[in-house]
């Protein structure tokens, strides 16, 4: 039994870049260091995507409406954020990890899990991970925190405790002593709602949660109850799934005020599709599935998708997007958000159609892409979309 248990014991590292977006901004602008900074849309309706530790002292946290953040701290510096720039840094970090790690998973833009089970036969896992973390900090200049433990959940909680810019090693024996005194809110998966339910049951620490009968958890929260209970006991068997290239490109727009102006939305969709289809062509990809999403003012979200022959051309994607939107938007209700996603991507370029694609049009695409590559993706675009963007 003990031998089995020993063999089963995994070693999982969780690495999380501290206040990632803010850290990237601080690399570019040293003046931001030590100041309350939040990243997110500048309008009142947008939400905080990331905030510095200084901002957190004022009670600001991510996913909070920007308006509230401003109210909490009048001096807060709001930065629009540049996702492309962040992806670039995220990629650099992933590349460093990919060079050394045997098996890793990119869980989000700033989080990685690495499975180093069995590596202790060659190196000390702790030493190896400390070296990797130092290397990332040295090569990117970004602070990163790390947790090393027996499974993904405990590693992630450990990282949370190690922050900012720290590291924590929790051995199998120490798992429970480490988890038990912590607040249940530290368990990933416990959001505001779940937290409130558990608090109303009188549970505040992981210790109490772990001692609740499993049947009761299932009764209160169903399947998720079982998973949460297991996590509280430091049990998590989900594997580290190898990182793979992302297979979709998408964009979303939240309106300043909810709207029913169909004309405006349709034109906006054109400009959104133009944007992502250029990204598609730039990456040398073709899409075979297109999804349109709308969110009504009451947060009801609806999507509709369609499979199309592989393409990366604006006019085909725009036509399909508009048709999908027309079919999807049937309730005369205010819309809060619209989005488009291209998926089913494969590497390749457009296959010319002898009846539909004229040489003039192909040359036009090539010329437009050349301009966009040289002067930015908005160097040349359809007039309808351009006006909508300005409005």
């Amino acid at each position: 039994m003990t031998i089995d248990a020993k063999q089963m014991e995994k070693q999982i590292i969780h690495m999380d870049l501290d206040t990632f977006f803010v850290s990237v901004e601080r690399l570019h602008n040293q003046k931001l260091i030590g100041k309350p900074v939040v990243i997110g849309g500048t309008s009142d309706r947008s939400v905080v995507a990331s905030c510095s530790y200084e901002a957190r002292q004022f009670g600001i946290h991510s996913a909070m409406p920007m308006k509230m953040a401003r109210n909490l701290c009048g001096d807060v510096i709001v930065i629009r954020g540049d996702m492309e720039e962040y992806s670039k840094y995220s990629k650099v970090v992933t590349e460093i990890i990919a060079e050394d790690a045997p098996l890793f998973e990119k869980a989000s833009i700033d989080e990685h899990y690495i499975d180093v089970t069995g590596m202790d036969r060659f190196y000390g896992t702790l030493k190896w991970s400390q070296y990797l973390r130092k290397r990332i900090i040295r090569e990117t200049g970004l602070p990163i925190s790390m947790g090393l433990s027996v499974n993904k959940t405990v590693s992630k909680i450990a990282t949370g405790e190690a922050k900012p810019n720290g590291e924590l090693y929790i051995t199998n024996e120490n798992t429970q002593p480490f988890l038990f005194p912590l607040s249940i809110s530290k368990i990933p998966m416990i959001g505001t709602k779940t937290y409130q339910i558990l608090r109303s049951m009188g549970i505040s620490t992981i210790r109490t949660l772990a001692q609740i009968p499993l049947e009761m958890m299932e009764k209160v929260m169903g399947k998720n109850g079982i998973i949460i209970w297991k996590k509280a006991n430091g049990i998590d068997t989900t594997p580290v799934i190898p990182y793979s290239e992302r297979q979709s490109i998408s964009t979303e727009t939240t309106f300043e005020t909810d709207t029913i102006d169909i004309h405006h939305m349709k034109n906006l969709l054109i400009s959104m599709v133009e944007d992502i289809s250029f990204q598609l062509r730039k990456k040398g990809k073709l899409a075979s599935c297109i999804t349109v999403k709308i969110r009504y003012s009451n947060f009801d979200t609806h999507t509709m998708q369609r499979h199309i022959p592989y393409t990366s051309f604006d006019h085909i994607l725009i036509k399909n997007t508009q048709e999908l939107f027309e079919r999807l938007y049937t309730r005369r209700m205010l819309i809060r958000l619209i989005g488009v996603k291209l998926s089913g991507l494969v590497g390749g370029t457009h296959q010319v159609n002898m009846f539909e694609d004229t040489p003039e049009m192909l040359n036009l695409y090539m010329a437009m892409d050349k301009m966009k590559k040289k002067y930015g993706s908005h160097a040349v675009e359809r007039a309808v979309g351009m006006r909508e963007r300005r409005e």
Binding site: G284, V346, G347, G348, T349, V352, M354, P359, M366
Partner: protein, 375 residues
């Protein structure tokens, strides 16, 4: 109704026409073969409403003519297991539709359906007809069938376009990415006509015509076409609609001409395309003087291949991308030792032509559209 027939002979004919039967039918009667016994002649038919095929079967002995619909699956499966032995069918065609089969020491019973329920084969009215050698039709089908499209939104392109004139006979197929035009000057029709034949009956014909060496009698009107040869006949509904103006997309003059040995060319593309993206099969053709470089890459798996070939080339150096699957299909069908690839610009059609075709009355043109190259 009663008859005795050789098991292998019956099986062979059933299999020859069985391809017409759809695997799932809305009309249950279409799951059956129709057997019609008329004096000493047995004819069997299969249909999917669009296409009906009929074959004659030689029988050893018959009594009492009649007709019956027999479930196809159970019949085929049983016949497959027999060695060549005589089989006796005894059928009640009037009330119970029970079928008794005696073969060797075995006796098998199943229930058929009233032959009246089987859809009537349409008859051709105000039709025209002509006769063509089986092997010409077989060649024409073999050459064009692969280029037909699958797009449900454009049904005309799912078939093969046939043009008859006083000068020649032309088969055309295209899916908008590739196009084949197969023309014969040794085969003419007094009156000009054109129609679109669906893919399924052509596939059936292709299989049967390979073994025939007589002539095919073709009858057609505006809605149906009828083929008769050997022991078989086939009638199919034509695809209704206007075929795209394919002549307009065939370039009149492609100044860059690349001539190359077919087999080495085919083998190189085959190898290089293994390393291309397995959904798009894109291969880059770069011509530099007398050197052709084929290259492909699949970024997702870091696969990469590059191969150099010598060729004869007249024209400006150029680079063009093709879906290698299309080019391979074409090279497999052309039978000459050398082929010529005629090109003009990277975003315009390429033409693949046989060089020194021994058959002077055969005019084969294959057109392949390029893929846009990322510069």
């Amino acid at each position: 109704m009663k008859f005795i027939v050789s098991s292998t002979l019956l099986l062979r004919q059933l299999q020859a026409i069985g391809g017409v039967i759809n695997s799932s039918n809305t009309l249950p009667i279409l799951d059956n073969f129709l057997f019609v016994l008329d004096q000493d002649k047995l004819t069997i038919s299969a249909s999917d409403l669009e296409t009906t095929m009929t074959a004659k079967v030689e029988i050893i002995k018959s009594e009492k003519p009649g007709s019956i619909a027999i479930p196809s699956k159970i019949l085929l499966e049983t016949l497959k297991t027999f060695a060549d032995i005589p089989i006796t069918f005894t059928i009640d065609t009037k009330s119970t539709f029970s079928i008794e089969i005696f073969a060797g020491e075995g006796k098998y019973k199943l229930t058929g359906h009233n032959a009246e329920e089987f859809p009537k084969t349409p008859t051709l009215e105000s039709s025209s007809s002509l006769e063509i050698d089986c092997n010409i039709i077989a060649d024409a089908i073999n050459t064009t069938l692969f280029a037909t499209g699958n797009d449900e939104l454009r049904p005309v392109m799912s078939g093969v376009f046939c043009q008859l004139s006083s000068e020649n006979f032309t088969f055309v197929a295209t899916d908008a990415h590739k196009l084949v035009r197969y023309r014969r000057t040794d085969c003419k029709s007094e009156e000009s006509a054109s129609f679109i034949l669906p893919k399924k009956p052509l596939t059936q014909l292709k299989n049967l015509l390979a073994h025939e060496d007589s002539k095919v009698k073709i009858e057609y009107n505006t809605t149906n076409a009828f083929f008769e040869f050997g022991n078989y006949n086939l009638i199919c509904r034509l695809i209704d609609g206007k075929y795209p103006n394919y002549e307009a997309v065939i370039p009149a003059e492609n100044p860059n001409k690349l001539t190359i040995e077919r087999i080495p060319f085919l083998n190189s593309i085959k190898r290089v395309s293994i390393f291309s993206n397995q959904s798009t099969h894109q291969v880059r053709f770069k011509v530099n003087g007398k050197e052709l470089t084929l290259s492909a890459e699949d970024l997702d798996f870091s696969n990469e291949a590059k191969e150099r070939l010598t060729c004869q080339y007249e024209g400006e150096d150029m680079e063009i991308g093709f879906n290698s699957k299309f080019v391979l299909e074409m090279l497999n069908i052309i039978s000459t030792d050398e082929v010529c690839l005629e090109m003009s610009a990277p975003n315009r059609a390429g033409l693949l032509l046989p060089v020194n075709n021994e058959n002077k009355s055969e005019d084969m043109l294959m057109l392949v559209m390029p893929v846009m190259l990322n510069s």
